[in-house]
C-alpha cells in the first residue's frame, strides 16, 4: 500500500526567509512520481512541483525546489525567499494511478 507522511502539521517562516517542509513515503513501485500541492485559503489545489523518481536531479521551479532522497524515501520541499502569498496548506502526494496525499503542513508566512 502507498503511504505518504508529513510530520509537520504547522510551520511558520518570516518573509524572505527559507523554509523546508518534509515528506516521507512508502511505495512498492519501481517507477513513480512525487508531487507537492499547495492549497491556499480558497481551498483550490495547485501543483507546486513534481519529481520523477528515476531522475537523480532534484526538481526546481523558481523559488521552489525539492530534496529527493530515493533510498530514504524522503521528498522535502524548500521554499526560498518566502512570500506572504505562500501562506497555505502544502500536501505531498504520490501516484500510481491515484494520488495518495499526506496530512498536510500548514505554512504561515509572517512579516
Amino acid at each position: 500500500a502507498q503511504t505518504v507522511t508529513q510530520s509537520q502539521p504547522e510551520m511558520s517562516v518570516q518573509e524572505a526567509e527559507t523554509v523546508t517542509l518534509s515528506c516521507t513515503y512508502d511505495t512498492s513501485e519501481s517507477n513513480y512520481y512525487l508531487f507537492w500541492y499547495k492549497q491556499p485559503p480558497s481551498r483550490q489545489m495547485i501543483l507546486v512541483i513534481r519529481q520523477e523518481a528515476y531522475k537523480q536531479q532534484n526538481a526546481t521551479e523558481n523559488r521552489f525546489s525539492v530534496n529527493f532522497q530515493k533510498a530514504a524515501k524522503s521528498f522535502s520541499l524548500k521554499i526560498s525567499d518566502s512570500q506572504l502569498g505562500d501562506t497555505a496548506m502544502y500536501f505531498c502526494a504520490s501516484p500510481p494511478r491515484k494520488l495518495t496525499f499526506g496530512t498536510g503542513t500548514r505554512l504561515q508566512v509572517t512579516l
Partner: protein, 117 residues
Amino acid sequence: EPEVTQTPSHQVTQMGQEVILRCVPISNHLYFYWYRQILGQKVEFLVSFYNNEISEKSEIFDDQFSVERPDGSNFTLKIRSTKLEDSAMYFCASSDPAGGALSTEAFFGQGTRLTVV
C-alpha cells in the same frame, strides 16, 4: 490555459437528498478522478474513471456514490442519499494519458463545497 471546472462551487442539501456534482475535465484528458476533503483533514481519493468505466475506487466510494460521463465533456459524481458526514469539499481532477496516469500530474478543479444539513 485549460482548466478543470466544477459546478456548483457550493451546495447545501438536506440529509437524505440526492446531489449531483458536476465537472468538466480538460478536453484532451482521458483519466478522471474524484477526491474528497473533509474540513481540516487530508484529501482522500474516491474514484478514478477511464475509458468509460471505473478503474479504481476507495472504500469510501460505497453504493451511495456513482459516477458518470453522460456526454463528451461532463463528469459527474452522484450521492444518492446524503448523510451529514458527506459534508466536505469535493475535487474533480483529470490527467493527460501521455506517459500514463502513473506519471502525469492531476489537474484539479476549484472544488465543490457540499454541506449536508
